[in-house]
Amino acid sequence: MDLFLNILVDGVAYGMILFMIAVGLSVTMGLMRVVNLAHGGFALIGGTLAHWAAQDLGLGYWAGLAVALAGTMAIALPLERVIYRRIYGFGELQQVLATIGLTFLMIATVNLWQGSALLTIGLPEGLNRVVDLGFRTLPAHRLAVIAAGALVALGLWALLDKTRFGIRLRAAVDNRDIASSLGIDTGLIYMATFALGAGLAALGGVLGAELLPIDAYYPLRYMVLFLIVVAVGGMGSIAGSFAAALGLGLLETAARYLAPDLATLTFLGLVTLLLVIRPNGLLGRV
């Protein structure tokens, strides 16, 4: 029973991290049709900025998180303008190459600035303790991550369902030609969406640093993981990303608890099998 609860809490927390990082990737792939292998780089940038603000400047965790979010989005905006906007129309292969190149540049930049060692972000008191639920105790950090992930999911749902921006974004995802012929400024929507996705990746990167440790090679190490979430959830589907991230988080956590030696193999094997059966993902459109 304890084991089950551990798997559940750790798995859901892990899944929420995956969701926060991958949802931006899913939307940019669905909306801009761009294969963005550099997306994990935004989580790295966020984590690095948080490490710098929290440790080097001594501003603490929460200020570090704020710096990470603002800084990452500030970097993502011009990047979208200068680089990504040009590669939207390219073929898949060119996009893959361009974003690999970008990933390498991100890694090299972080290394030049902060070195190649682990970039820790010390948890504040509030997150570093355990919470007593009466029948058992749980680490506060995991609960905070779960709460943050749930808030992000709710927020995105509200944003997409209840606001003008959301309606336009969904119109642009469904058919960008029609959307632009209706006078929707798709360029602006792309940029805002891209920056939002990058910001969420930074949030996931910082909050998830306990589970997916930050160092310069982060974007390459976890690239497949994030892509898998998108592929399983179906490109452009936020609900799909959420379901896929939670499912995969639970699956990998369970595998790690139950068969530690075979965890990664089991995980990759099952995911490959799933993609063979459903190449467009769980909830993906055909």
């Binding site: 390219f90 292969l93 190149g101 390498f104 540049l105 090299a108 390459l220 094997g269």
Partner: protein, 308 residues
């Protein structure tokens, strides 16, 4: 263009005498050319992007290394074993990868390499894990030419393998099978409409590409006498792809030019600092995508004002 291969061979022979102290590096270039040629068969001929060719290269390297240690240390037999291992892995994974398209296919190629890396890492008793597979001692090539520590035999041996692979791929490219791959690349719908079994052609192309990559891996294992986990890494797959794009796809000699150029820049710019090297390669790739989408071999045509 017909004499270009001969020019390559002449240059490679000349390099042996001009750079006698860099034979190890020159041999690494030759080995890498084999891997990049295998990517050209899959991407250049058949038009299927792959970011997991290191899986087949690594499989060939481990198979040849283990074969040499436990069974028979004959180099040519080892190449065959490496090629078979690469082909077998490519066939099995190709059955899956070729059922999908686009991003899913690219991702599956990455995933296959990840799975192999994970297996090699876990099966420490067999592969040596992160320590690498050590203790490979090869017998003389054909029983005549022993491997020397300066790497002279290794260099000629690798050069001959490169020539054989190059010639084989050139022949395949002009044969009906190679034409059908170009047909699939140009228009999959049209190939289906003329009744071609597109899926099986692609699986076979992937398998042949796997065999070539496996031979490359075997060559690396025999000459460096070591197989490390890096032979299966994503970075290797990505670099092989970048080298091919740099030189230009679908013409084989593009693979040669791209590899030589990339490896030389690597050697000069970054041998002792892998991270600053990433600046160079990242900038290079972006510049290539934006300014030279058809690779270096299109540069001459572009300058002459012709079409690619």
């Amino acid at each position: 263009m017909r004499f270009l291969p001969l020019v390559f061979v002449a240059l490679a022979a000349a390099a042996f005498f001009v750079f006698p102290y860099d034979l190890a590096f020159l041999t690494r270039i030759l080995i890498m050319i084999v891997l990049v040629l295998s990517v050209d068969l899959i991407l250049g001929y058949a038009g299927v992007p792959t970011l997991g060719q290191a899986a087949m290269y690594g499989a060939g390297a481990y198979a040849a290394g283990l074969f040499a240690i436990h069974v028979w240390a004959d180099p040519v037999a080892g190449l065959i074993i490496g090629g078979l291992a690469g082909a077998a892995l490519a066939f099995v994974s190709g059955l899956i990868v070729m059922r999908t398209h686009g991003l899913t296919a690219i991702m599956l190629t990455i995933a296959v390499a990840q799975i192999c890396l994970e297996i090699a890492n876990r099966a420490r008793d067999i592969t040596g894990g992160a320590e690498g597979l050590r203790g490979i001692r090869m017998e003389p090539v054909l029983g005549l030419f022993a491997f020397d520590f300066i790497g002279q035999t290794g260099y000629w041996y690798a050069l001959i393998v490169v020539c054989v692979v190059f010639a084989a791929l050139a022949v395949i490219g002009r044969a009906p099978f190679g034409m059908s791959l170009r047909g699939i690349h140009e228009s999959r719908d049209r190939m289906l409409a003329i009744g071609a079994p597109v899926y099986w052609r692609l699986v076979l192309a992937y398998t042949l590409g796997g065999a070539v990559a496996g031979i490359g891996g075997a060559l690396a294992a025999q000459i460096t006498q070591l197989v490390s986990l890096e032979t299966l890494s994503f970075t290797l797959s990505a670099e092989a792809l970048i080298m091919l794009i740099l030189g230009g796809t679908g013409r084989l000699y593009g693979a040669v030019i791209g590899t030589v150029l990339f490896m030389t820049v690597h050697h000069l710019a970054a041998a002792n600092d892998p991270f600053n090297w990433l600046f160079v390669i990242g900038g290079m790739v972006l510049a290539m995508v934006f300014f030279l989408p058809s690779g270096l071999i299109s540069l001459g045509h572009a300058l002459k004002g012709g079409r690619k």
